[in-house]
Amino acid sequence: MTLPGDWRERWVDLVTGRGGDPSFLAGGPIKDHAEGLAVYQEAWRLRHLEALQVETPGLTALVGDRMPALAAAYFAVHPSRSWTLDRVADRLADWLAAQGEPPEVVEMARLDHRVMRSFSAGELPPVMLGEDLGSLALQPHAALLHPTTDVHQFRTAVIAGSDRPPIAARPVWLAIWRAGRTVQTMEIPPATWAILSGLEAGLGLAGALEQAFASGHLQPDTLDDQVAAAFELAATHGMIGSES
């Protein structure tokens, strides 16, 4: 067989397990072409499994022995499309949901993903006193999640190497952000969560407050206190910055 015009695509199909005719490859004195190709195939499988495990420590601990099979099935549908292995888990949570996996598995994958994205995300300058609050934004390294299980407690125990608590079904309003060079997760009041998620959606301060009010988490009689508490918490922990 001579070199096919689409040799790059054929190579990718062969390496990622999609099959094809490898007879345009040539072996050497020790391994023939199929055995040489197998080196690349095995390296691809292991590299992607390891990268996924690095990106999802909580999920890896939660699903245990199922991880290699889950990774193989996931990468068969969603091979990496980024130049960095840091993004291999980008589609994992949605894919797990589509497979009918239970909420704690899907939510753990989503939490892992947001935490790992936070490590190398950008950072806005802090909000200065007297600055126009219209420039207020959620830090690019911060994220809000609202899981239906307390997967964050299990994950925290995995990272700390301590005893893992059972995962309970309960609504959780969770903030994820980077403080210094470490990433934190914390349960926050629903009203604070609602305001910050409005900032996360790019609604600006007025839009975020409107959305939080509409969500029912901001009460008219305690509104001022709730808003003040939200900004004090967000500012103290460095979850917000200025886009100006």
């Binding site: 067989m1 001579t2 070199l3 689409d6 040799w7 790059r8 695509e9 190579w11 990718v12 390496v15 990622t16 007879s23 345009f24 490859l25 040539a26 072996g27 050497g28 004195p29 020790i30 391994k31 072409h33 040489g36 190709l37 080196v39 690349y40 390296a43 691809w44 590299r47 992607h48 990268a51 091979p79 990496s80 499309r81 980024s82 130049w83 960095t84 292995l85 840091d86 936070s118 490590f119 190398s120 995300a121 950008g122 950072e123 690019p140 390294h141 980077r178 060079r181």
Partner: protein
Amino acid sequence: MAVRQVSKFDLPDLGVGVGFRVPHYRHVVETRPEMDWFEVLSENFMVEGGSPLYHLDHLSAHYPVVPHGVSLSLGGDGEPEHLRRLIALCRRVNAPWVSDHLCFVGAGGVQTHDLLPLPRTRAVRDHVVRRIRDVTDAIGIPFAVENPSTYVAHVDDEMPEWAFLAEIAEAADCAILLDVNNIVVSGVNHGFEPMDYLAGIPAERVVQIHLAGHTTLPSGFRIDTHDHPVPDPVWALYAAAIRRIGPVSTLVEWDDNIPTWERLAEEAATARRIRAESLS
């Protein structure tokens, strides 16, 4: 074999350095141990912020730093966002040059994250030359192309790898990062003489040498694992390369089963000694 060529590129001889790897980040930035220079894996630092850039900035404040990539995919297509970030990285560390591999990493939008071998044809050669020229024009500093380890070849290969590399470097007017470990690995796997490879390389274009260890399977087949000390055949080829090329920046790669800093520094010291002996 010709001895001591004059480099075509006005680049400094940085001495012998090591790869900057996660287990040593803290030790290096906090204690600033003696080391001539560092190579960083480009992709790990082409990010927006956080821990990677913190460590990079501390590193480049005290040592020469050269970015070395794995995803430029010279045999494939360029990606504007990737190139934009690579340029930003080079400027951030004031890189004297930047390098990546003679390979392709994916197609049709799918990335394999591996250094896949290129068919050694004239058409592919010309494609790589165009890609290197585009990259060099965009980055504005010398670009060095590195020979990878390979485990298969192609039925239509028209020339040996050293000729492929040499023709590309000449036509693209680029530099060469010569990985002597990869020459030993591929030499065994494909049945060529490492000294033939060395003799076929335009020495005046070599601006850097890579040293590393590899794995030998029971069959004798070699895998480029970067998880062992540099073995004797690689040291021997390194000595021959230094005699041919002259005093050229050298880098010890150790990426898996990463040893203590002290052990890694010892490997760099061995390289420094062999380099000095080969030059005398």
